[in-house]
Amino acid sequence: MDAIAIISIFVLAVFVGFEVVSKVSSTLHTPLMSGANAIHGVILVGAIIVADHSETNLELGLSVAAIVLATINMVGGFVVTDRMLEMFKGKAASGKNGAQDKSAGEKK
């Protein structure tokens, strides 16, 4: 891919990233951080690609280690985030949620 296309993707993604989280209430800081943390676990895709390319034992060994680490990051990250958010779910079911959303939104 040519450099301009990559730079465009990069710059636009930066702005999207800034925009989507700019109004988050402090209550959600930890789950949001944890969720974003899980998302960068997609380096797993990269790790699989290099494992496919690997020819020497050294390369394969390093790629396998990368796959293990990336999987832990991705899968563990989404599971632990879900557990955190599960705690909030009980409240959502009790119907108090609308008011709570509003106050959270107005905080920042």
């Binding site: 990233g17 959600l28 960068h40 895709v45 020497t56």
Partner: protein, 463 residues
């Protein structure tokens, strides 16, 4: 599958990640957002098995190794995420972030070994960036883990001449980065990786316990950028999108967190360069404190009209969420007005305490954020502080230069009476003495938060 279809699947995964972050920013959609993110990651991972690259063939080479490694990662990651106590969750997030950074660095190293002399300068620069930042994030996250797990001191670790050592390491790291770009070899790359690991350790060591969450968030953003750079080397658009999203949102999140804690980001990050060695622990306190019995506490609570409960990490450690709710129910039944004053960083991370109390089914409407509850302290008869210290420490207002100076606190000193349930006179996570403990309107009840609360509940019932 051809490249166009593969890229379109990658794009849809990227869109899912954007929607995931968007969903995670609102309480009602947060869980769905996270699941959407997981779906995006799964789709992206499955797709790569059906696209072998420009000249490759399916199935992928080393398929057994790949599937085995994924299975092993799931086998380690899922139980860790499932079984972790909610109190220990921040350090687990730090650890997950660290291994992600490590994975990115390894990917870049393998690709570099592979490309050898055919790498373009831009690819080498992206590789160098990935290795440098990935390794820093890895070792830095391990140190934050050790600090949060209290396997090492939570105080800032500052040694004489420390700032010169850090500056020299950073200089060496950057020099070896230039070396890699110029002379293209495995040795310079390994030197770079080693120095980056060292720099990560030195970078986090001087950070005080209270600032650790900010550093975790920052390292998270770093890892995101690392993944983006790795995506450039591998010509994988999805990695560029996902990594950049996390890098950008992580940066904003780091700033928001620093603001919520009233800390300057600059001060936190470059504390390493300005911190001075502190006196260890200081002189033993010999001033008198007013220590009470559970009955004294019960009486104070029984005749109050309004009680604000300030929960802290001590409550979480003692697993006293349920007992504190029992106490609150008892007081509510007596017609006493109850609120929980939640400091934004009560616990170990922003929002941590809300999660813990939600686990104990504390009604959401009783949880008040700091800005709501602070103006009500003058009308409050009793502030009941359970296992919290730094978030109510007036030193944040009165002592310029102390590690938490400038952090907004809960103004419990404005309340008629202050009750501390504490294990001991040991200072809080930030390691600073709390003047409020010696105030004449303060009563201390020593012991494990759960045991103390159970006794207070018993005494209250007997009244």
């Amino acid at each position: 599958m051809n490249r166009t279809i593969y890229d379109l699947i990658g794009l849809s995964a990227g869109v899912m990640f954007i929607l995931a972050l968007k969903g995670l920013s609102h309480p009602r959609t947060a869980r769905r957002g996270n699941l959407l993110g997981a779906l995006g990651a799964t789709v992206a991972t499955v797709a790569v098995f059906f696209y072998a690259g420009k000249e490759g063939a399916l199935p992928l080479n080393n398929l057994g190794w790949i599937l085995g490694a994924i299975a092993f990662g799931v086998f380690v990651g899922v139980p860790a995420a499932r079984r972790v106590q909610m109190t220990a969750m921040p350090q687990l997030v730090a650890l997950f972030n660290g291994v992600g950074g490590g994975a990115a660095a390894l990917v870049a190293i393998v690709e570099y070994l592979k490309l050898g002399d055919t790498a373009t300068t831009a690819e080498v620069i992206a590789t160098v960036f990935t290795v440098l930042v990935g390794c820093t994030s890895f070792s830095g996250s391990i140190i934050t883990f050790l600090k949060l797990q209290e396997l090492m001191t939570t105080r800032p670790v500052v040694f004489p001449g420390g700032r010169f050592v850090i500056a020299a390491t950073l200089g060496g790291t950057l020099a070896s980065a230039v070396w890699v770009v110029n002379s293209l070899g495995t040795t310079p790359l390994l030197v770079l990786a080693g120095l980056s690991l060292l720099f990560g350790v030195l970078f986090v060591l001087p950070v005080g316990g209270a600032d650790v969450p900010i550093v975790i968030s920052l390292l998270n953003a770093f890892t995101g950028l690392t993944v983006a750079a790795g995506g450039y080397v591998l010509d994988a658009t999805l990695l560029i999108i996902a990594g950049t999203l996390v890098g950008a949102s992580g940066t904003i999140l780091t700033r928001l967190m620093a603001e919520a804690m009233g800390r300057s980001l600059f001060g936190t990050l470059f504390g390493a360069f300005t911190a001075k060695p502190q006196d260890a622990a200081g002189a033993t306190e010999t001033r008198p404190v007013k220590s009470g019995t559970p009955d004294d506490v019960a009486i104070l609570l029984n005749y109050a009209r309004r009680v604000v409960i300030v929960p802290g990490f001590g409550l979480a450690v003692a697993q006293a969420q349920h007992t504190v709710r029992e106490l609150a129910d008892l007081l509510t039944a007596k017609g006493i007005d109850i609120a929980y004053g939640i400091h934004p960083v009560a616990g170990r991370m922003p929002g941590h305490m809300n999660v813990l109390l939600a686990e104990a089914n504390v009604p959401y409407e009783q949880l008040s954020e700091m800005e709501e509850v602070n103006p009500t302290f003058p009308q409050t008869d009793v502030a009941l502080i359970i296992g919290a210290n730094d978030v109510v420490n007036p030193a944040a207002k009165t002592t310029p230069g102390c590690p938490i100076y400038g952090m907004p606190i809960l103004d419990v000193a404005q309340a008629g009476n202050v009750i501390f349930l504490k294990r001991s006179m040991r200072p809080g996570f930030a390691g600073i003495e709390n003047e409020l403990l010696f105030d004449s309107k303060t009563t201390l009840l020593f012991g494990d938060a759960k045991a103390s609360l159970t006794k207070v509940v018993g005494a209250l019932k007997a009244l």
